[in-house]
């Protein structure tokens, strides 16, 4: 086999493995039959049923609110943490700080969830919406910090120095120069944080309380009872939201790339 064809085969098999299960799930959400294994024709009845399932819709609403809030707080904290890591050499106990940024990325969720729960119990906080937000903020901020940090290390410091040199005070410089330029990374970090929060089952299960059931918790409890087309529909909807988000992001990147190429062309013909 030619190397090119071999590569194509490997990639095809690999991507088929990644995508076929999701595709099947999406297809069967439009199945008219209640039996997952029998194709009974195209139907959107499960979406209607899901729409009228109040418990499910409540859970979806809670999930979205948690995700927006924790992603937003997490993005602010994560961006600050990234700045601290990249810009400030003399952080007290720097090792501890960077360890606390990296560890949540790989920490088994059961440990993070349990330990946070015990903290909330120890200080006597009623568990519910806000405890989930705090828990999600804590682990998503670390992802944001990593994403923003990788942008900051390649950031040309002389841009900030130029602004200072031209009379712009440091805080203003951050908002006028640094933030606009690292914005793509901050937005990417927010999106990552949002979907991570949207997805999370384990940490939310530990830290939630009455009245704050999130969608993954709801889906999980139903999945344990068996596969139902309604869950397929809910999952498809979630996948749809995320896919649209990712597509918008990639189109934006493509456009920026196109713009950059046009600029380069202008630059070479400018002289």
């Amino acid at each position: 086999m030619k190397p090119g064809r071999f590569d194509a085969t490997v990639l095809t098999i690999g991507f088929a493995f990644l995508y076929i299960p999701i595709l099947i799930l999406v297809i069967y959400s439009f199945n008219a039959s209640k039996l997952v294994t029998v194709w009974g024709g195209f139907s959107t009845q499960w979406y209607q049923q899901m729409w009228h399932n109040e418990a499910l819709m409540d859970a979806a609403w809670v999930t979205i609110r948690v995700a927006v809030l924790s992603a937003s707080i997490g993005t602010v904290l994560g961006t600050l943490a990234a700045l601290a890591l990249v810009r400030f050499v003399r952080i007290p106990a720097r090792m501890l700080f960077s360890a606390m940024i990296y560890a949540p990325l790989v920490m088994p969720e059961v440990i993070t969830g349990l330990s946070l729960l015990l903290l909330f119990v120890a200080v006597g906080v009623d568990r519910g919406f806000w405890t989930v937000v705090i828990a999600h903020t804590t682990f998503t901020m670390c992802y944001v910090a990593i994403v923003v940090q990788s942008r900051l290390v390649t950031f040309d410091r002389s841009l900030e120095e130029a602004a200072l040199d031209l009379g712009c005070p440091p805080v203003k410089t951050f908002f006028a120069i640094t933030l606009p330029l690292i914005m793509p990374a901050v937005v990417a970090g927010w999106m990552l944080a949002f979907t991570l929060s949207l997805d999370d089952l384990v940490i939310a299960s530990f830290t939630t309380g009455p009245g704050a059931t999130t969608l993954p918790i709801k889906i999980y409890s139903q999945v344990r009872l068996g596969v139902t087309p309604e869950i397929n529909a809910a999952c498809t909807l979630l996948i749809g939201i995320v896919t649209i988000g990712v597509i918008i992001a990639s189109v934006a990147t493509k456009r920026r790339e196109y713009q950059r190429q046009r600029d380069e062309h202008l630059a070479t013909t400018a002289a």
Binding site: L164, L166, I177, T268
Partner: protein, 385 residues
């Protein structure tokens, strides 16, 4: 682009006037980064309207010195005076200096005019005035038709001009230029050097330039400070630096030179007075006419630039008191010059440059020829440091 020549330059030597007040004074400046001493107890005066260069290899402390003036670094010891006022502790955004960065540091998300206006906006000038000043600057660097472009839509040379315009827009007391032409190709660099001098002259500003390119420093500067390992080795005009280097380091760093170690045999005058020195450089006897620096017996270096060494097939005339025989060992043809590497009878290699004044392809002197090298008593120099 039509070259507009500015007013004829005048002789400008405030440093020789004992009554002149320095515009910028670095006073016993030391800067340490951890254990590394970047600048070591350095004192330097720069005068108003001077075009001053800090020249040296990378890591010699020249950029650190400039950054301390801009306010990005604070000196560990010593103080910096601007017009007699200590500016220690003044943050960069409150200093009347502006800097042109090596990378240009143009804000990529702002148009050319926004970039130029940025510093003026920080001063909260009225809109109309900002507008006029930006137009003025665009005209100065001949970029009027590019005002609305983004930096990424400009060529390297144009970016360099925007950076210059931006740093000049606030009419700083001192303009700092960090390797300003390093990213340009040779042709453009030479052109821009003259433009820089022109702008400096027209606006009557003080320019401080950091460079590792000796040609650039020689071309643009009124004075040059040659730096090495955090100290200044010599401060002088370009001509003095080239013709009368004060040390082996400066002689070797600027241009091409023959350096021969030797001993002073006799001097005809007391130290500090003009006279004739006789040197013995391991058998090579050399006579030099200059201010006598060293007493007999001291180890010194004899330095002579290749273009001041004449090369000929015949026995030299009596006017050149120094002469040595040798064999042409190698020839470097440089177009305008040919550089001859001649192995003398005692085994050392000396370099002699000869201007190629005719279009002959086959030069009269070639490999293996027995030749004479000869020079006058005032062509070379004795270095004690």
């Amino acid at each position: 682009m039509a070259k507009s020549l500015g007013p004829v330059k005048r002789k400008f030597t405030p440093w020789t006037d004992p009554g002149a007040q320095p515009f910028i004074r670095f006073e016993n400046i030391t800067k340490r980064f951890g254990n590394f001493v970047a600048v070591d107890n350095l004192t330097l005066d720069i005068y108003e309207k001077e075009f001053f260069s800090l020249l040296g290899p990378s890591g010699c402390g020249k950029t650190t010195l400039m950054r301390m003036l801009a306010g990005f670094e604070e000196p560990t010891e010593g103080r910096i005076l601007l017009q007699g006022k200590d500016i220690s502790g003044v943050p960069p955004y409150r200093r009347p200096t502006n800097m042109m960065f090596q990378s240009y540091a143009l804000f990529p998300h702002m148009s050319v005019e926004k970039n130029i206006a940025f510093g003026l906006e920080q001063d909260k000038l009225p809109k109309g005035e900002i507008e006029t000043r930006v137009q003025e600057m665009l005209k100065l660097v001949k970029l009027e038709q590019f005002a609305r472009r983004k930096p990424s839509q400009l060529s390297g040379g144009q970016r360099q001009r925007v950076a210059l315009a931006r740093s000049l827009a606030k009419r700083p007391k001192v303009l700092l230029l960090d390797e300003p032409l390093g990213a340009l190709d040779r042709k453009l660099r030479e052109e821009t050097q003259f433009e820089l001098m022109d702008i400096q002259h027209t606006l009557g500003l003080t320019f401080l330039i950091v460079t590792h390119d000796q040609e650039e420093a020689m071309t643009v500067s009124d004075r040059i400070a040659v730096m090495d390992k955090g100290i200044i080795v010599q401060v002088a005009t370009p001509a003095e630096i080239y013709e009368a280097p004060n040390s082996r380091y400066v002689a070797d760093f600027i241009g091409d030179i023959n350096l021969v170690e030797g001993k002073v045999v006799s001097t005809s005058a007391a130290a500090g007075q003009a006279g004739r020195l006789a040197l013995d450089c391991d058998g090579l006897k050399v006579a030099v006419e200059q201010e006598c620096p060293a007493l007999a017996g001291n180890t010194v270096a004899f330095a002579i630039r290749p273009e001041k060494v004449r090369i000929s097939l015949d026995t030299p005339a009596q006017t050149d008191v120094n002469a040595v025989r040798g064999e042409v060992w190698d020839i470097g043809y440089l177009g305008d010059f040919s550089l001859f590497l001649v192995r003398t009878e005692d085994g050392r290699v000396l370099r002699a440059a000869q201007a190629n004044v005719s279009r002959l392809v086959d030069r009269p002197i070639t490999f293996g020829d027995q030749v004479w090298l000869h020079w006058s008593a005032d062509a070379g120099l004795v270095l004690t440091r």
